[in-house]
């Protein structure tokens, strides 16, 4: 129950921040940080509660919910669900590879890379289905800005984890 309340509060706060903060008209992608934090906390729990093989179903449902909430804010259901689910699952696959050494630098690269993947999947769906005109260089620039902004927040929130 505590786990649920904690994540509901964190999710609400994140989406509130996402609606409030913009950088030069660019909205930020804090919702990916939720996915990153959830995956980190779920697959690398504290030693006392350590599970042998945690199920992937709960994280997938979480990605779906986050995507759905984000889509509700945009008024189009679907694109964020797809981007968040795919990005989240790719993150799970990466986290399960035990040979990676999770340094802060590695985490920063992962946050940056996966935020960009999330943004690009979302953008290509919107461009393909809704013919939204947007320059590709501009798209890369905004994705990169969002990814770079996510790095410090992600590192602070996942400090000393895993």
């Amino acid at each position: 129950m505590n786990f649920l309340i904690k994540w509901v509060i964190l999710t609400s706060f994140t989406f509130l921040l996402e609606q409030l903060i913009t950088i030069d008209g660019i909205t930020l992608n804090f919702s990916f940080l939720l996915i990153f934090l959830f995956v980190i906390h779920y697959f690398f729990p504290d030693i006392e509660q350590k599970k042998i093989a945690p199920s992937e179903l709960l994280p997938i449902l979480f990605f779906l919910m986050i995507g759905l909430v984000e889509d509700l804010f945009q008024g189009i259901i679907g694109p964020s669900i797809i981007s968040k689910t795919i990005t989240g699952y790719l993150l799970i696959l990466l986290i399960k590879q035990l040979f990676f050494h999770w340094t802060e630098l590695f985490k920063a690269v992962i946050i940056c890379l996966f935020t960009m993947i999330d943004e690009l999947i979302y953008s290509f769906i919107m461009i393909y289905f809704f013919n939204i005109s947007v320059g590709y260089i501009m798209l890369l620039k905004t994705s990169l800005i969002k990814a770079l902004v996510n790095i410090p927040f992600g590192l602070i929130l996942s400090w000393k984890k895993p």
């Binding site: 509130l16 996402e18 609606q19 409030l20 913009t22 008209g25 909205t27 199920s55 992937e56 179903l57 997938i60 779906l64 909430v69 889509d71 509700l72 804010f73 945009q74 008024g75 189009i76 259901i77 679907g78 694109p79 669900i81 797809i82 689910t85 795919i86 699952y89 979302y122 953008s123 769906i125 919107m126 289905f129 809704f130 939204i132 005109s133 947007v134 320059g135 501009m138």
Partner: protein, 252 residues
Amino acid sequence: MTKRVNLFIIVGICLISFLLISYQSKGLLNFNKLDISVLILPFQYMKNFFSETLKLREENKHLKEQLYQILLQQKSYHELIEENKRLKELLNLKEKRKEVISIAKVIRVGSNKFLKTFWINKGHEQGVKVGMPVITLNGLAGKIIFTSANFSEVLSLTDPNFSVSVRVERTRVEGVVSGTGTNICVLKYIPLEEDIAVGDILITSGTDGIFPEGIKVGVVKKIERKKGFFQHIEVIPYQSETKIEEVAIVKT
């Protein structure tokens, strides 16, 4: 086995989502945007409070100076307006009225992922409808793309998805101004032989049926005559999107 089930679930989620997206893109299915402007508003006020206090003092001083200048000019303007009216009556010209629906305050920058938008504190309860033009004292600012009861989202003039038919004030040549996603707009469909100069003023032509005639849009900044049929013209909008505080919603 579990991995396969998970993959199956993900593929299922994606397929259902794609189905929903394609229905929405064809307009067969519509979902209302989750509007939390009421929740955000107190935080937004707090955020703007300090910067606005400083700005207001400076603005007050500036406005007082302007007021004195305007008072001096007012008298001559009144005479000109009266003269203009008399002349128009003589010419039997019917002046098209631009009816202002409401004056609104910009409450925050839009949270739309793709579109350059901003939110205003007037919605369909105040008579605001989707598609209505939004202007400021400087010129055209955008158009309404979403309304809730007391709030509306405005698509900014500089967004690439925004277009407005315009006329060059000096030569009466008509074209289309579109946003680029930056602070600069482009004037399209002006043939190579047309006379356009840097500094030319662009006003709405009213031929698109959305924006009323005569609203100031921008000034020509740069002209390039490349190969092809049309000139490449950059335009600086009269209304900078970062400096919009109050807007008027106009009925077309």
